[in-house]
């Protein structure tokens, strides 16, 4: 065995090492997703129920006037499709955060957190992995919706991709931020009720904001300041090859804020330090 003298020299990490780490985290997330077929099915069934049942029932009740980005009258199913795409990402973001809480309870979160790569980067990789999974679900939904005559322009399938990535990052980061504050898995259901339902219903996912304003000006402002509304609008416009700049700014800004909050919360000298050791450990 040869012998060398070790000095505390900091060599840092190469680009290849960062990339390998990202690949590994995405690969593991994909494997877990594939192993949980029920998760994939339920992720699709939920929006499809809304599309096939709710939208069909409300088609005659809720009239949609011509509003951007639409240039003609549209069916109600067409209107709610972007909202349902965002809903898939919202649920996926919360599912990812649930999985982080589970990982933390089961102990496997430590495997990630003791990696030598910067913790902020590890969390960002985790976020990207969750977003990638949500993209698979959204495109599967779009494929089924196409058979239901919900067909945006062919280029829309491509132009919507950056919007989906950004909204996926924002909703995933929100989930991550929430997961940092949850100590036990059983507390999660309550949090879901306080996050998912208000975010989804107080948004433009199911009805246009001008309709909301007619009914309740207060709710209109709640919807307007709801970041989920902007995720829906960003997707809606991108699906038709357009950019809603305000929504882009809001979604991008919220993604950054939520991500920074999650990194702060998972920082050992700040977030986790306030917690005691896991059960049974001292």
């Amino acid at each position: 065995m040869s012998s060398t003298t070790v000095r505390p020299v900091e060599r840092g990490f190469s680009f290849a090492e960062y990339l390998t780490c990202l690949n590994g985290i995405v690969w593991r997330e994909a494997l877990r997703f594939l192993h949980q077929r029920e998760r994939f099915v339920s992720a699709l069934v939920r929006p499809l129920v809304w599309l096939f049942i709710f939208a069909a029932g409300f088609r005659q009740v809720l009239g949609i006037s011509i509003i951007p980005p639409y240039e003609t009258y549209i069916l109600y199913e067409v209107y709610i499709a972007p909202g349902l795409m965002a809903m898939i990402q919202l649920f996926n973001g919360m599912q990812s955060s649930l999985s982080m809480v589970y990982d933390r309870e089961m102990g496997n979160m430590r495997t990630l957190l003791v990696s030598p790569l910067p913790r902020g980067y590890l969390l960002f990789c985790k976020l990207l992995a969750g977003t990638a999974v949500s993209l698979l679900q959204v495109y599967a939904f779009l494929l089924i919706a196409w058979f239901w005559d919900i067909a945006p322009p062919p280029t829309g399938y491509l132009t919507v991709l950056p919007a989906l990535v950004l909204s996926g990052l924002m909703l995933g980061a929100l989930g991550m931020l929430i997961s940092s504050g949850i100590k036990q898995l059983e507390n999660f259901a309550g949090v879901m009720n306080f996050v998912i339902f208000p975010m989804f219903f107080a948004s433009s996912a199911l009805y246009p904001l001008w309709r909301v304003r007619e009914g309740s000006p207060l709710l209109y402002y709640v919807c307007l300041f709801n970041p989920f509304t902007h995720a829906v609008e960003l997707i809606r416009f991108a699906l038709y090859g357009q950019i809603n700049w305000i929504s882009l700014l809001v979604v991008g800004g919220c993604a950054a804020v939520f991500m920074l909050g999650a990194i702060y919360a998972y920082d050992p000298s700040r977030g986790l330090v306030r917690r005691g050791p896991a059960g049974g450990e001292t």
Binding site: P8, E10, W27, R28, L31, N108, L117
Partner: protein, 273 residues
């Protein structure tokens, strides 16, 4: 324990350059570490070090503060006061460099039960930036070494408790760390599995020159040639070579020395060396 030692060269040592540490760098150095959970003080002025190629047992009852100390060394918790260095890298200032040299086996299982044995290893390798081809080769090697090569494709949940622990040790060694921390690694295992794991870790010290910090509450896991740190209610009561700790306590064995030092009831386990 506090003096720098050149790693022992073993006959079956793998092809890993062995560091000489001529500059006296410790594998692990802990100085002035304090930690509190609110008003409860979990660790009080902790000072000790682990030399390369040495086996140091951290002995303490449940609640002594062992896991808190491990959480600080692995940077799961932030350091409130004091310094922790791994081969000279301050865990607070250069966490990446420090953690790169560290392998850890936590008290709770940290394997992904739904993934296979190999997939768990590949995931760990990726988290250390080790490319897929190299990771596969290393995985094959470590699985052969721990006798799990035939279970490479098995789901982890199908392994026995002892096999899972061996896999966790193999995983902790995959990125070739120079310091290995094991927190109550044999808890819940039968006598044979415990002996196998302990023997495997001692072999790593002898053959690969790895510094080991072994947290335990079981006396029979401590050998006469080990270094010993006695941790009780967050404070170090004694430290040094086992023989010296026993002598200074005026006892005949570790068991008696521990009881004299702590005034506590004997932990479970067999009589000491």
């Amino acid at each position: 324990m506090t003096t720098s030692t050149a790693p022992t060269t073993g006959q079956n040592a793998p092809d890993i350059p062995a560091p000489a540490y001529a500059d006296g760098t410790q594998a692990l150095s802990i100085s002035g570490v304090n930690h509190s959970y609110g008003s409860r003080r979990a660790l009080i002025d902790i000072n000790f070090s682990v030399a390369p190629a040495s086996f140091t047992a951290l002995l303490g009852l449940n609640g002594a503060g062992k896991s808190t100390l491990f959480a600080l060394v692995t940077r799961l918790f932030g350091i409130q006061a004091g310094h922790i260095g791994i081969f000279g890298h301050d865990i607070r200032l250069a966490p990446g460099e420090a953690l790169r040299l560290l392998g850890v086996v936590f008290q709770p299982r940290t394997l992904d039960l739904d993934l296979s044995v190999t997939q768990n290893l590949l995931y760990h390798a990726a988290l250390h930036g080790i490319g897929r081809r190299d990771a596969r080769s290393r995985s094959g090697d470590v699985l052969t070494r721990i006798g799990l090569a035939d279970r490479a494709g098995s789901k982890v949940r199908d392994l026995s408790g002892g096999q899972m622990r061996r896999l966790e040790i193999a995983r902790a060694l995959l990125h070739r760390p120079r310091l290995l921390l094991l927190d109550e690694a044999t808890v819940g295992l039968d006598v044979k599995a415990r002996a196998d794991i302990l023997s495997h870790v001692r072999q790593l010290v002898a053959e690969q020159g790895i510094g080991v910090l072994w947290a335990t509450h079981l006396f029979d896991e401590i050998a006469a040639g080990d270094d010993l740190v006695v941790l009780h209610q967050g404070q170090i009561l004694a430290q040094g070579p086992v023989a010296r700790v026993i002598a200074e306590a005026g006892a005949d064995n570790v068991n008696a020395a521990f009881m004299r030092l702590t005034g506590a009831a004997a932990p479970t386990g067999s009589p000491a060396p």
